[in-house]
Symmetry: C2
Subunit: 659 residues, 2 copies
Amino acid sequence: MKENVELVFEICVVIPKREAILKGDEDFDCGNVFARELKNAGLVVDRVIGNSDEFFKVAAPLETLGRAAAELRIMKRTHIGMDLQFDMVEVDAFVKQPDGSLFSWYERFQCYCHLMHGIVNNSKSSRILKFNRREIRWEVGEHLLPKLESEIIIKQIFPLHDDKIRKKLLKTWALQWWDFTTQPVDEIYAYYGSKIAIYFAFLGMYTQWLLFPAVVGLIVYFIDYGSANLVVLPAFFIAVILWAIMFSQFWKRKNAALLARWPITYGNAVDEEYKVVGMKGNAQPRQNPMDLIKLLEADRVKGKKVFTKYEWFNHLLRIRNDALIIISIICLQLPFELAYAHLYEVLNKDIIKFGLTAIYLATIQYITKLGGKVSVKLIMFEHNENPETRADSLVYKVFGLYFMQTYIGIFYHALLHRNFGTLRKVLIQRLLISEVVQNLIETSLPYINYNYKKYAVRQNKEKEEKGSAGTFQFTSRVEKEFLKASYTASTGEELEDGLFDDFLELALQFGMILMFACAFPPAFAMSALNNIMEIRTDALKLLAMMKRPVPRASATVGAWLNIFQFLILMSICTNCALLAWLFDEEGKWKIEPGLVVILIMEHALLLIKFGFSRLVPAEPAWVRAARAKNSSQARDMYTKRLLRTISGGEKTRELKKIE
Amino acid sequence: MKENVELVFEICVVIPKREAILKGDEDFDCGNVFARELKNAGLVVDRVIGNSDEFFKVAAPLETLGRAAAELRIMKRTHIGMDLQFDMVEVDAFVKQPDGSLFSWYERFQCYCHLMHGIVNNSKSSRILKFNRREIRWEVGEHLLPKLESEIIIKQIFPLHDDKIRKKLLKTWALQWWDFTTQPVDEIYAYYGSKIAIYFAFLGMYTQWLLFPAVVGLIVYFIDYGSANLVVLPAFFIAVILWAIMFSQFWKRKNAALLARWPITYGNAVDEEYKVVGMKGNAQPRQNPMDLIKLLEADRVKGKKVFTKYEWFNHLLRIRNDALIIISIICLQLPFELAYAHLYEVLNKDIIKFGLTAIYLATIQYITKLGGKVSVKLIMFEHNENPETRADSLVYKVFGLYFMQTYIGIFYHALLHRNFGTLRKVLIQRLLISEVVQNLIETSLPYINYNYKKYAVRQNKEKEEKGSAGTFQFTSRVEKEFLKASYTASTGEELEDGLFDDFLELALQFGMILMFACAFPPAFAMSALNNIMEIRTDALKLLAMMKRPVPRASATVGAWLNIFQFLILMSICTNCALLAWLFDEEGKWKIEPGLVVILIMEHALLLIKFGFSRLVPAEPAWVRAARAKNSSQARDMYTKRLLRTISGGEKTRELKKIE
């Protein structure tokens, strides 16, 4: 407490308000016991009594965090560029965060979890906890947190906003309307963790880059080139594809540059994940390959074989699961989508069309939910290394569903019916209306939800205190925050959070504008406008409408980048098909010079797509140089002593062997 | 000397035999001075007087090597998995080679070079060296080796064979005729270095894998399927492409597994290369980005900008060079090759054809030489990080030349004239005749050359000693070795060695059999047979016909793997074209169902090609696990002490700042 004057409460535990506690029972009240145990664990607790719940705001002094980190054996970057287990005594050896703190938000969160889940009944006999009139028996050696959760005494545990930083971010980020190109990414990283910061960096760069095709697309669409029209559209197509290829590669460079600023340790999540229990206890028991490693040590040849077998088994399992999903999408979803698209094309009356769309939308909601659930079930059988690879696995599977759902109707109009009028109409409809509506829903739904909850609480309270005057007020910020929505995914919540929906929106938009670029060039301008809005609304959502999200370990876009790359590939093919069908007016399907040119163009673009990543390295030279310099400088400084340490250790090891 | 009883002489310096030395001049004779200086440098010298030259066989005791390695600041793998500067005192901290020695052959060679090039006139005045009647002035501070080389006193410096290991390898490797699948790769690594070991591992795996398409190809070709013929060929094509895709990915895994066995440090070559002078002084002064790094440290923003500029400048330079090469190949070589192919097709008389081919072959030789020279010139302007990236750059450029030269004629027959008869004839001719001839030349040429040189020496000697009886004999093994050919590339010798030709042969063969797989399925069987021979002949060549090659740093196939991947891509396209032309007998070029199927098949295969690397990781799980375990185990052991080292250093650094 003395070292760290400004202790910030970062976690909140919610327990329902209890009836008046009898005298003498104070020691047994579960709230009191819980608070005492938290204090014993070295945490600082601030209890706030709200209207219907009691809130335990928890903070941790640095030494408590350090102790937890050492117990968790968290790996941290040291000055020699090597990740070593954290040790409180040798704090100076570790690289600090950009904002000067020792632990990142993700690491702090891990420590909180560890500290709170580590509360065990250490006494020699079971203890009685009282909750209203219920008596709960806390057995010897039992963990308190799961116990209280299973008894539904702890309603929720959630990370708390830090109001000072939140307000600062609101000013410098969400409400910076006019300068949309600069976002305080480092501060977002410090406050929300790497995954969310990366999302916003990606969104910002994508929006910035979109301005180029937006301008070109508008020029192509609104100026009539007369006889040159035949060349303008293919030229636009090539420019857009090159743009997309360069974007995906330059994003990798940007990501590498960002990671150079943040000392993030990956090994951490892989090795220690099974010991760290997530906030809501979502860590599954997972066969861990430790015994395999031991086998590898004992018998190299046999160990290698077993290991390879294990690796391939996992692979085949994942391939089987993906195949299952793909087959069911093709066999179940595709006919359904085609039927809808066909009926929509065939039907005449607007009312019937409207009814059909309503039924379709309802069904699709259900299908998506189901698909998400099935995917999560399948993924649970896979042996993914860590939660982030599990989340990536989910993203691939669920994106297949959304891909079909979003594009198959458009493909139907574009390729089968060659109905470019309907195609354009559908594109405008999807891009303008659905995105604006989605943005509105995205921001207003949590707000309405929040207000409704506030209203409900107020109603309850007023019912209880009928006599008193109607001057009801929320006494604490914490209670308001508790009522806010949490940042969850629309599907597969067990593995993903709200970033899933945000990335999904981006990916679907990217696919839409790119795959049908030749059919409707101004789509880029629409998306650019939408994204400029999106940055603000997403920021506002996170800062004002939602609870602070649980931080995640990953520091890349993950599966989404691969999906973007796949969409670029698809768009090369679809645009070539569109061009071929645009120019082949007579419907002859002959290999005329035009078609041959288009085929050659397609192959050239595919080659560029795959060659480009070799041309431009994914990591900027200065990042590599700076890293090499930093670590080599430090190493040079310590070489002698490091070597003495290692060779000394080697000698003692040999001595042990001799003994 | 005491620790290392079996001192092996590994380097040989050749100085012409001098006339009888006058008494009193012994101290000034350059041979004596050189030998004395070598001894002063800690090396052991064995002087052998041959028929016309004197050979200085040089060996280095371990402590001399260690001193040189420490001076060179060689980075070596330590037990904690981190590369640190070598230090003789803390030898135990470093990982040993698989054969138990401390230094790899590459490292030893670097040390020899450093020691020998480090001989400087340290006395206060210039010294006189006498060579026959010439007097050479060795100035103060001047390096002896370049001096003697520039005065053409040192004729050659070359690595010596170790007869014991060479004989063992002959028995276990080159003369193991019946079991072609197992090669003693680890011993090859220890004796020849990583690059050559990797070549033989690659060749072995490629040959093993070739057996599958060889068998299938024979079955497809020699059995008549009647009406099913229309399906068999595409099925064979798909199988072969999948085979090739899997091969290239599984090779990466194999390479990773090999590297897991050899403690190779990459950072080495990058950072220290400019200090290490190659055997023949082929290190060019090279702008090194050290000052850029300093700038980056001083001013991060400005440094980043300058660095990015530097990176892009280098990139654009390389792109410009590649574009130059590509354009000149297309504009100059392509018309020439097409003209030859066309004339060959048009001409009737066999004699004229023969003459034409003779002229063509002579010209092509000249063109290739020229191309190699131009490429080397261009590469010298590029800022490549180390000799291996320079060599890769050369490989890409020169392969373009050979690609045109080898395939354009075949394309001409296959695609333009649709003359499958000629195509097959050309394929058989190239695969059977040219490969066998090439193999013969490859092995016999150095042998003949060697014998001619021996004969010349004998002739010389006999002329000199006319009186004596004709019982001439080579007194020493060293002299015989000196007469052997060195392992050089046919083109661009400055950057590549004989591996260039060996890899080129493999790549051209791979392209030939894969790109025209549908036209001539039994080609695979021919190549498989040829490669089984190739392993033996290449091994024999290296062991018996050639000087021991200079070891190279790289431990991957390098540019050649990318070329293989490119050839797979090309072959998807060419085979689809071949199939389309095979089935489209009427020459209608219509998009019939057949053509659409072929197009879809092409796209599916292209997708698989690029998706496969995501499906199967390039590094086996056990390699990753073993590495993680090894380093983490060692780290856990030393964590405390390492941390104390680092944080202690940190404190002193801070203290310095305060001062």
